[in-house]
Amino acid sequence: MNQRGFMLLSTVFLTLILSFTAMLALQAMTRVQNGDQSLKLHAINLANEQLAMVESLAAQNNLAAVKNFNGNDADLQNYGLYDENAEDKPPVEFNVTTNINAVNENLREVEVTVTWNENEISFKKLVRVNSP
């Protein structure tokens, strides 16, 4: 006879606590998964910068001048999303490597790889070169 189930009030409180916890967990998960997005955006644009330079050098028939990174050296550092006190912490360093492989006499496959922290992103592009 002394055995009692949950009261309505207990159920309401339990539901509230669980829903708050779930909301916090969902938001934290989103932030963790998406936390590096701005750095990834920068890496994509950095790769495009190098590919633009490779295309330009290929158009001049001067692929020998291609280095790992021919772009603006200042772009190899980025803070991601930052506030006005960003200078208190060091920027994230990006590393760009470029590999060129011959597909045939007139085509070269350019692979640009950008690495930062523990991440890596890679793009390939075909560029046309004049016959020697």
Partner: protein, 199 residues
């Protein structure tokens, strides 16, 4: 009758056992309830402010990438690009892109239309990027800013020449909600570009 008196006595006893809060219980319970409510309200506020700042950060990233994508896509097919200073006291450049080989405006034949794109950052207080088809055309709706989930302003938009027919674009934007900045840079190769002016 005997039973009736017994029931009355039981009811009387039961009524006497019911008690409300005494003052001391209330004094102890009130701060506890207030502390619980304070914690709960702080949790609710944190949840909503986090959601708001996350949405604002997302808008900032998306708009910054959208600006670079639009400009690089338009500049890729350019025959002629011109850089001009928008405001002398700001880090903004105006970019004029022409797809037609004619470089001089005015006295054109009716079929000789200069097709192009002009990117300019609007003035205070919004600093939104605007675009129009031709130099003397009408501005379209602003490309950046005015988003319900987080307004943004452009704090830097510079163009420079990085190589032969290569234009370097440097963009910095700020979220009006979180006061955070994002800085992106890229370059675009313009294979058909005959002239880069003002770089």
């Amino acid at each position: 009758m005997k039973n009736f008196h017994y029931v009355l006595r039981l009811t009387h006893c039961a009524l006497n056992s019911e008690r409300g809060f005494v003052l001391i219980e209330f004094v102890i319970a009130l701060p506890l309830i207030l502390m619980l409510l304070y914690g709960l309200s702080q949790t609710v506020l944190t949840i909503f402010s986090t959601a708001q700042s996350q949405a604002a950060d997302y808008v900032l990233e998306v708009e910054a990438q959208d600006v670079l994508t639009r400009i690089t896509k338009d500049a890729r097919a350019a025959c002629y690009v011109k850089r001009a200073v928008t405001y002398s006291d700001q880090d903004f450049d105006t970019l004029i892109i022409n797809y037609h080989s004619i470089k001089v405006e005015g006295s054109l034949d009716i079929v000789d239309v200069i097709e192009g794109r002009v990117y300019i950052v609007g003035n205070k207080p919004n600093y939104r990027l605007q675009a129009k088809r031709i130099n003397d055309g009408t501005f379209l709706n602003p490309i950046t800013g005015g988003n319900f989930f987080g307004d943004t302003v452009i704090t830097c938009l510079k163009y420079s020449k990085l190589g032969e027919r290569v234009m370097h674009i440097e963009l910095e934007m700020k979220s009006s909600v979180t006061q955070k900045f994002i800085r992106l840079s890229t370059a675009v190769f313009m294979p058909a570009c005959e002239h880069m002016e003002g770089f």
